[in-house]
Amino acid sequence: MILQDQEIDVLKPKGEHKKLALDHLPSVDELPVLPHLKKSMDVDLAVNANGRVYLFYDGKIAEDTEYALYSIDDSSLTLVSKNGRIQEIGMTVHKPMRKYMRGGDNIYVIEMIGGKTPGKIINIPMIIHEIGL
């Protein structure tokens, strides 16, 4: 459901539009990049010795994630939504992790409700990008 400008009233939301108005994100053209995930929630990025990669988070990711992009050049991990909106996790992937991150081809994105209980779990592709800067 797409709301018209006049219907978006976050100051005085009414009726069935209340939740939509509060959850409303501008279009991807207006807001293609979301603030770093780490700014709004607790996040752990983990990789095991077999190259399995995990992103644990305690909060709400704004849009369903389609895939993740690991940039070796920037040492960054970015989530890309189904609408094409991008959101970096906001932490530098430091050297001790890089050897194992290179071996991953997908990533488990795991919600930890209240920081303790597993909630939504998805397994999405992780694209590794390196141009050798």
Binding site: D42, V43, Y54, M91, H94, I110, K116, T117
Partner: protein
């Protein structure tokens, strides 16, 4: 096929390197029944890795009954505060 479970995602106790606080990962490992997994937590700001520790060690809290005691104040022997100086000027 439905979404994977936490046990599907973490099927064994393979050691992990973690960027972040580590608590979310530790709780996920506990939920997956992998308390014996070894964790190395990398400090997000400076990239410094911690020593390896198991989930149980990472999540252990200090014993609240443990009390710090102050050692009794014992007199200490003064050493070398009197007597002739050796090797000084004029000798």
């Amino acid at each position: 096929m439905g979404n994977p479970t936490i046990r599907d995602a973490i099927p064994d106790a393979t050691p992990m390197i973690i960027l972040g606080g580590g608590a979310l990962t530790a709780n996920a490992l506990i939920s997956a029944g992998q308390r014996d997994a070894s964790m190395i937590v990398v400090e997000p700001l400076n990239g410094r890795p911690s020593p390896a520790q198991t989930v149980a060690e990472f999540t252990s809290v200090p014993d609240p009954n443990l009390k710090l005691e102050i050692a009794p104040n014992t007199p200490q022997m003064a050493v070398g505060t009197s007597g002739p100086r050796m090797g000084g000027p004029g000798q």
